[in-house]
Subunit: 145 residues, 2 copies
């Protein structure tokens, strides 16, 4: 994939998780926008701002030798001609062991030629889908905000 970008936000997202699973740093960085100040936040991690910080982080993370597998669930998409926002659960398996679920907000941008990721904001999920309208459950418990 060249700097021209991906044909859709969804194609960029597919490439993002493929690069993550394959621990492919070059493929991973091709997903990210070369045009704007990208940002990346891993669960309980720092707010990484700008291509150098984000790139250094992925280089370190993808060289760690942990092979991860992702199963995505409940993907919600807001899309316009130039920006797309995807919210989803990442169900991650490392070496066959299921990890606590993660909530991710992924934002993609069209630069006139193609789509790239500009934000990955991931955080720990306490409970999958418990408070969706479909299940009509009320929120209870402590509020951390």
């Amino acid at each position: 994939m060249t700097l021209a970008g991906f044909p859709s936000a969804q194609a960029a997202e597919t490439a993002f998780y493929a690069a993550f699973e394959n621990a492919d740093y070059v493929a991973m960085m091709s997903v990210w926008s070369p045009d704007v100040d990208i940002e990346c936040i891993h669960p309980l991690g720092e707010r990484l701002m700008g291509p150098r910080a984000v790139g250094n982080d992925w280089r370190s993370m993808l060289s760690g030798g942990k092979r991860m597998q992702f199963r995505l669930a409940h993907i919600k998409r807001f899309q316009t001609d130039q920006l797309a926002v995807h919210i989803l659960y990442e169900n991650i398996t490392i070496a066959g062991r299921q990890q606590p679920p993660v909530i991710a907000t992924n934002v993609y941008r069209f630069n006139g030629r193609g789509w790239h990721m500009i934000l990955h904001h991931a955080s720990p999920a306490t409970d999958i889908g418990k408070s969706s309208d479909m299940e009509n459950t009320a929120k209870a418990g402590p509020v951390v905000h």
Copy 2:
């Protein structure tokens, strides 16, 4: 503020934090889009999907009697005609006590008449600005993702 919405994403954001500080449930819900399936994630909280789940949560949260003050920092904005994405730090004070910082991704949508919030994704921040390109620091430490 009516259902017509706010004149800008920034105006909606200002109203969001004002409603939060004033513990004003009606004002808070007027910030949120009546048009789409909104989502809200508080730090280490559930993924709240849909107006009922989000509304129930804010009703509970804003009736808790905790008065919070917000100081926002390092606001990064991506904006098009129909969607706006703001990434920022929330520095929160409760009853004069500084809380651990929070990273928030706020997404706003223009519905043809005005702007509303459609997503608030907040998570704990471990370190403010340590890995920005400006400071040219490399990432170190454990990776949780």
